[in-house]
């Protein structure tokens, strides 16, 4: 997953959101829980305070009595952290009572720390108790006796905050663990969601690659409703591209027909007349004919540029051309042999391969004494770049060419031999076409004695 990708963008956004949301959620949950634990703790202390106060009032209304039935076993355990205490205030004498858990010690009082009572006349404070225990203390002030005998007493209950803190600490640990697991789970789910969500785009990519390599002529993959229009538009684009090329080809063909017939008339008419004017007309018409061929070839090549994804099997093309040549050269009784493996496929237009093989095989047939050999092989390297290449060799057993001649035929307009009919542009057309596919045409001496034309073209995989 690269940083400049849809998957990364979606995933990074999800990660950022998760990293932000989970701690905030954790803080809120912890806060609510702490609030609930604190309230519950206070309710318990308040209940115990009420029990202690009622119990002590039940045992005497002049002076506080010893509470007998508080119902909290921890009041009986020494330094348990849970204490009650009844003490006279204002420095006046009176009985001081306390739970057994105090074991002679005392707990600090909120009233002594100037804590104001709440609406139920109970003072609440967190104070340091015996043995440095941090206590939550609730204190209520009750007046025993009447008249001059009236005496204010502090009735207080304290509970250790250590219990609350331990509970909160445990909760925090479990909450952190749970949220972390949830975070990891969410990220994994996000990753799956991104992959699953973007899978159709990967299918589009594969489909387009298949079109480009020529394995398919259009996109035909099941896509979700949202991007189905994309497939339709791409197919329309491919179709439009093919239509434009076909139209261009048709126009080029029509132009060829429209120009060449009048040229044939002019050339023939001029040849029948021996005047200087007629000779000049014949000469210029000949040049016009060659120029028409040159620019028609260029127009054909230009029409092909931008055509996506065509693959042409070599064997059917070579077979059809050889079938035609066997008829054209049947007087020569030539033997044509083809060695072309089934996987030999040219990455390009059928018409272009026909043009290249047609010219090479035609030239070989003109010159061959008895045999023409076509062999196609896949190469690891070749042409003008990387990738896989296809070499097609067309050999004959004719007289061949000298080293000097071999360099020449590829020059446009040069005839291989004036005595053989034809446009004489065969090899240059082949070289131009091969070059337009980043391929090349090379001429060498054939092991059969004649010319060996070696055509290197992109191999379709």
């Amino acid at each position: 997953m690269t940083t400049n990708s849809l998957a990364f963008r979606l995933f990074a956004t999800a990660v950022a959101w998760t990293l932000l949301a989970l701690p905030i959620a954790g803080a809120i949950i912890y806060s609510l829980y702490a609030q609930e634990v604190g309230t519950s703790f206070d309710r318990r202390i308040n209940l115990l305070l009420t029990v202690v106060l009622n119990d002590t009032i039940d045992h005497g209304d002049q002076v506080p009595g010893e509470p007998k039935d508080v119902g909290e076993p921890l009041f009986e355990v020494t330094h348990s952290g849970w204490y009650w205490q009844i003490r006279p205030l204002d420095g006046r004498p009176g009985p001081t009572l306390g739970s057994r858990s105090l074991a002679g010690l005392s707990i600090p009082l909120p009233s002594e720390h100037n804590v104001e009572p709440n609406e139920r006349e109970v003072r609440w404070a967190n104070l340091d108790g015996p043995l440095e225990q941090r206590l939550r203390v609730a204190e209520s002030i009750y007046v025993f006796g009447e008249g001059k005998m009236a005496q204010r007493y502090s009735v207080a209950v304290g509970g250790t905050l250590g219990e609350v803190e331990t509970s909160l600490r445990n909760f925090r640990t479990r909450l952190t663990l749970a949220l972390s697991l949830a975070g990891v789970g969410l990220l994994a789910l996000t990753l799956f969601q991104v992959r699953f969500g973007l899978f159709p785009l990967a299918k589009v990519e594969k489909g387009l690659a298949a079109v480009r390599s020529g394995e398919a002529t259009k996109l035909d993959i099941g896509l979700p409703q949202e991007i189905e229009p994309l497939q339709q538009e791409l197919n329309a684009l491919l179709k439009s591209n093919q239509d434009i090329v076909e139209r261009a080809r048709t126009h080029v063909g029509n132009l060829a027909h429209a120009l060449k017939t009048p040229l044939a008339v002019i050339v023939n008419e001029a040849r029948d007349d021996q005047s200087p004017l007629a000779r000049k007309v014949a000469e210029q018409a000949q040049i016009m004919g060659e120029q028409v061929n040159l620019y028609l070839d260029r127009a054909r090549m230009a029409a092909r540029i931008g055509v996506i994804g065509r693959v042409t099997e070599v064997r059917p093309v070579s077979d059809s051309i050889i079938r035609a040549l066997e008829r054209i050269y049947r007087d020569k009784h030539l033997t044509f042999s083809t060695d072309c493996p089934p996987g030999a496929r040219f990455q390009g237009e059928r018409q272009d391969l026909e043009e290249m093989l047609g010219n090479l095989l035609d030239n070989a047939s003109k010159w061959a004494r008895s045999r023409v050999v076509l062999a196609a092989t896949a190469l690891a390297q070749g042409g003008n770049g990387s990738g896989r290449w296809l070499e097609i060799r067309v050999d004959d057993d004719g007289p061949g060419l000298t080293a000097e001649q071999m360099a020449d035929p590829i020059i446009r307009g040069r005839r291989l031999d004036e005595t053989k009919p034809g446009s004489g542009l065969g090899h240059s057309i082949v070289a131009d076409l091969a070059h337009s596919y980043s391929g090349k045409l090379e001429l060498a001496r054939s092991e059969h004695g004649g010319l060996s034309a070696r055509l290197t073209l992109p191999l379709a995989t």
Binding site: R330, N359, P421
Partner: protein, 223 residues
């Protein structure tokens, strides 16, 4: 030899007819596919020059229909569409050769001669029959190495007989292959030219096979 030219361009058609007539062929011409198809279907041509881009019926369809109807005369496609895909289509439809426009008339004539020769089973452009020799390239006839002067009609007749030597050729066949469609078939022109030829070559070489026709033979017998 009788040739059919199917070409819709009137100027080119006229040029072809003129050049072929000058070269000693009897030429019929058609300007559209339907007319061309009809002539090829009904007349015995030795060669057909067929354009592909024709009005009413395209040349390839014309050719395919002829072949389906077992018409086996050699057909040379003459077209501006010179891509190999077009050539393969033409050859697959049953053409025997392919000439791209613009073309040299001499090249076309050479191709026509080759087709005529091939159709009659001759490999070389020089035809021989006993002391007689005919060079199809130069249209020259020699007898024991000495030139024989012939008029164009005499040449046409002798050339046809030499292409089919040792075979009985009927008078009708000669008329059909040596004269255009509008020739008066009841005239005795053939007999007149046979008579003239017999005066210029050994008379026994052209035998009259009663009720059947004529045979050019290198062997002289008593029949």
């Amino acid at each position: 030899m009788r040739v059919l030219v199917v070409e819709d361009d009137r100027d080119l058609n006229r040029q072809l007819v003129s050049a072929l007539t000058d070269a000693g062929y009897a030429v019929d011409s058609a300007f559209d596919g339907e007319e061309g198809y009809f002539l090829g279907e009904t007349e015995p041509y030795d060669v057909v020059i067929l354009d592909t881009g024709l009005p009413k019926m395209d040349g390839i369809s014309v050719l395919e229909q002829w072949r389906r109807a077992e018409r086996k005369m050699p057909v040379i496609i003459l077209t501006a569409r010179d891509r190999w895909s077009d050539k393969v289509t033409g050859m697959d439809a049953g053409a025997d050769d392919y000439v791209a426009k613009p073309f040299h008339m001499e090249e076309l004539l050479a191709r026509i001669r080759a087709q005529v020769r091939r159709a009659s089973g001759h490999a070389k452009s020089d035809l021989e029959c006993g002391p007689l020799r005919l060079d199809t390239k130069t249209a020259r006839v020699t007898l024991n190495g000495q030139p024989v002067k012939l008029t164009s009609h005499e040449y046409r007749l002798l050339a046809y007989l030499m292409h089919h030597n040792e075979r009985v050729v009927s008078r009708t066949e000669l008329v059909e292959h040596l004269y255009e469609q509008d020739f008066d078939r009841d005239s005795n022109t053939i007999e007149v030219f046979i008579g003239r030829l017999r005066k210029k070559i050994p008379p026994d070489m052209i035998k009259t096979i009663r009720g059947l026709g004529y045979r050019l033979s290198r062997e002289v017998d008593d029949n």
